[in-house]
């Protein structure tokens, strides 16, 4: 198999100018014919082994993943759905009844999710103040769910969550993500929304799904604008 000079440079992870110099100096095995240089893959691989150099095609998959845009807040919130009037008198019962009501979760996974949420809650409260809590498992849940989701739970009555400002929590966003990176991404976007006091007031009215999604979409636009 013959390669082009650019491919060889990539395989050896070299600047093109170095490769050109190596060819000129005769340090790398190539064949010359009337048309120019011929790079034989097998010969180059053999040469690389004897010279302790690594010779491999760059992995394109890794690059593509890092370049792809990460999912935003709105699809995750839509996927998670909204639960109204979630029952419960304390953290445990509130979380229990919320988890029981998550529609897309299979029955046998609900206990597991509940356990991990409580485990995280025992470390420190996820109540971030202003009556809002963001319960989430510590480790990503890639084996339970396929896509990240945020379940919005309006509680029937405010619950003492042990939040940072000691205010009782009236709404929980259960944040389930498939990787730590997405988790942080969604968390930072959610936190951006929560900074806005008018949004908190809006949440206190237990808004309907359309109005809520419209509001989130609004925030997302602001975020994207700030970024560019």
């Amino acid at each position: 198999m013959n390669l082009t000079i650019n491919e060889v440079a990539k395989c050896l992870n070299l600047p093109l100018s170095t490769l050109e110099r190596w060819i000129r100096q005769g340090r790398i095995p190539i064949y010359k014919n009337d048309k120019g240089c011929v790079f034989k893959k097998s010969a180059l691989e053999k040469w690389a082994v004897t010279h302790n150099l690594s010779f491999s095609f760059p992995k394109e998959g890794v690059e593509r993943q890092s370049n792809s845009e990460m999912e935003n807040l709105l699809p995750a919130i839509k996927r998670g759905g909204i639960l109204y009037d979630v029952m419960g008198d304390d953290v445990k019962t509130a979380l229990r009844s919320a988890v029981e009501n998550i529609p897309f979760l299979p029955e046998d996974k609900k206990d597991e999710l509940y356990e991990t949420l409580i485990e995280r809650e025992n470390l420190t409260s996820t109540g971030i103040g202003k009556g809002i809590a963001i319960p989430h498992p510590r480790a990503p849940l890639s084996n339970v769910i396929e896509n990240s989701a945020i379940i919005t739970c309006f509680l029937e009555k405010p619950v003492n969550f042990g939040a940072v400002d000691d205010k009782p929590v009236f709404v929980m966003f259960i944040l389930l993500s498939t990787s730590t990176k997405i988790h942080l991404h969604l968390l930072s976007r959610l936190a951006f929304c929560m900074r806005d006091n008018s949004f908190v007031e809006f949440l206190k009215t237990s808004p309907c799904a359309e109005a809520f999604f419209a509001k989130i979409a609004d925030f997302e636009k602001q975020l994207d604008k700030a970024k560019t």
């Binding site: 000129r24 100096q25 010359k32 302790n52």
Partner: protein, 574 residues
């Protein structure tokens, strides 16, 4: 038609496609033959000119003959072929280490003609260095003709040198060893095999054209243990003579360069002095192989004082010829001075201990030659093999090795760089393969350039800059002028750290106020060794590269190490 087209790419022929080393051996044989012929031509024309000039030798004005020869040779080099004076070997080594052995075609004959003029007219110099230059240039240009790469070209330059030395001395091993030890400096099979072939070809050419004769044949010597001990003293004397010759040569060229008169006039002045010395001691004139012959045969009749004086006179004459602008090599004068030194040492021994039965004086003359050659070139193997081959005297090998190695060590102690390499070492241009200097010289700044830095403008607000910082993965940010695009300074992440969490500063601070303008910058043409020295002196890890006032990229030790390692691996293993 296909054959016609492919004849300049013989590497593509079926037989050579198996292995390009085979092809190199084939070309090496051609190079060896060509440089062998060049050596024979020089030798023949030298003899002819020397004989023709000889008929004027008895006139009173004969002392100006070397002056005319040296002036003509200098004029020829300076005005016609436009090359520097000197003997050419350092130029070959320089080209091998810096330009992959690239030499001009005219070098293949220019030194032959100029050294013919100098030596033929009586100047004290040798024909070997010019013929080495010529052979090397033949090798280089044959490589260029076949569009070979640098590495193969260097090998062929070595082949040319080997063929030339082999042919002129009828000494194949000496040619081979000289090319590898002095010219290439890399003992690897990939060089040795083609060079050996070229030596064989060069020697065979000389044997076919001139017959298989040994330059300085002699009788058997019976060497006793006491003679070997005496050799230790000879080695010291030979080393002293080598150092004296090296120093005088440098001293003379130092004096010569102080005069503002044209080069040919200086060469003529030097030649005049040689001519005057030659009136009293004709032994100093020309390459001087004839007296060497009589000395080795043991027929040199003059006494100790005359011999010692002749040795000194030869040193002065050689320095006057080569140092003042004549053209020629140091090899032959070394042999003459060496044999005179050996002879003088022997006469001294006989004077001090007349009762001891020393070995024949010819043996000491021969050992003295080895001591001088090894000392001047600081190449012990070349000295040993050359003397063994030109004298056909394998039976003196033991004292020969002793004298060569001791003389080399002593000279190396006093003059760390040999006569050929001194100038190159002083200018940092001796770059043997696989050494730190060579790796750094081969890598260029452009190959190490990191272009993933984000450039910012000097009138940018800190707020905008922080957004850029969020998306970057480098800590350095070059600052440019909006209008001209000129590089103004650098911002390191540390520079903005104090303001990073103070959002009040975001909209009041411009980058032009934060940036560091006192940065050490690198020019793309800078030598890497110089850049590294700068980095070490300033405790820097990376530096911006600025070309034509514009930022071109960063250069950092991390990338350098990566490339340096690759370069070293590619240069050192085969």
């Amino acid at each position: 038609m296909g054959i016609l087209k492919s004849w300049r790419h013989p590497a593509g022929w079926a037989i050579f496609r198996l292995d390009d080393r085979l092809f190199l051996i084939f070309v090496a044989a051609i190079v060896g033959i060509c440089s062998g012929i060049a050596a024979v031509v020089l030798n023949r024309s030298l003899v002819a000119i020397f004989e023709w000039i000889g008929q004027f030798r008895h006139y009173w004005w004969s002392f100006v003959l070397p002056a005319i020869g040296a002036a003509l040779s200098s004029l020829f080099l300076e005005k016609i072929v436009k090359e520097g004076a000197g003997h050419g070997v350092p130029e070959v080594i320089y080209s091998v280490s810096r330009y992959g052995g690239l030499l001009r075609l005219r070098s293949s004959f220019s030194r032959l003609i100029s050294s013919c003029l100098t030596i033929g007219s009586g100047g004290s110099a040798g024909p070997e260095a010019p013929v080495v230059m010529s052979g090397a240039s033949i090798g280089s240009n044959i490589a260029k003709f076949f569009s070979l790469n640098d590495r193969q070209r260097v090998t062929l330059v070595g082949c040319g040198a080997a063929g030339a030395i082999s042919s002129i001395f009828n000494a194949p091993i000496a040619g081979m060893v000289f090319a590898i030890e002095v010219i290439i400096g890399e003992w690897k099979a990939i060089n040795i095999v083609p060079i050996a072939i070229a030596s064989v070809a060069g020697t065979e050419v000389s044997r076919m054209l001139q017959g298989n004769r040994i330059a300085f044949s002699h009788r058997q010597f019976n060497i006793d243990l006491i003679d070997i001990f005496a050799c230790l003293g000879l080695a010291v004397v030979a080393a002293a003579a080598s150092i004296l010759l090296t120093r005088t040569l440098r001293f003379m060229s130092g004096i010569s360069s102080r005069f503002s008169s044209p080069l040919w006039l200086r060469a003529a002045a030097g030649g005049c002095v040689v001519g005057i010395i030659g009136i009293f001691l004709p032994i100093v004139l020309g390459e001087g192989y004839h007296p060497v012959k009589t000395m080795i045969e043991g027929n040199f009749s003059q006494g100790l004082a005359i011999v010692a004086l002749a040795a000194l006179a030869k040193i002065v004459a050689t320095s006057m010829t080569l140092g003042w602008g004549g053209s020629g090599g140091i090899f032959a004068p070394c042999l003459v001075i060496g044999s005179l030194t050996g002879l003088a040492y022997h006469r001294g021994l006989v004077l001090l201990w007349p009762s001891v039965s020393w070995v024949n004086e010819g043996c000491f003359a021969l050992l003295g030659m080895a001591g001088l050659v090894s000392g001047i070139l600081q190449a012990p193997l070349t000295g040993i093999f050359l003397i063994v081959e030109i004298t056909g005297g394998y039976n003196v090998i033991l004292p020969l090795i002793v004298v060569s190695s001791i003389s080399t060590s002593l000279c190396h102690y006093v003059e760390p760089a040999s006569f050929y390499l001194k100038d190159l070492v002083e200018h940092g241009q001796l770059l043997r393969p696989g050494t730190d200097a060579r790796v750094l010289a081969d890598l260029s700044v452009f190959e190490l350039l990191e272009k993933d830095c984000i450039t910012v403008k000097q009138n940018m607000l800190l707020r905008d800059f922080i957004n850029i910082v969020k998306n970057s993965h480098r800590n350095y940010f070059p600052v440019e002028d909006e209008k001209t695009g000129y590089f103004l300074g650098m911002i390191h992440l540390d520079d903005i750290r104090p303001y990073l969490f103070n959002s009040g500063m975001y909209d009041v601070v411009f980058l032009g106020q934060i940036m560091n303008t006192e940065v050490e910058v690198v020019n793309p043409d800078d030598e890497l060794s110089e850049i590294l020295r700068k980095m070490d002196a300033n405790h820097l890890f990376s530096m911006p590269v600025v070309s034509n006032n514009k930022f071109a990229g960063m250069i950092s030790k991390a990338t350098l190490l990566d490339q340096y390692r690759k370069e070293l691996m590619v240069q050192t293993c085969d």
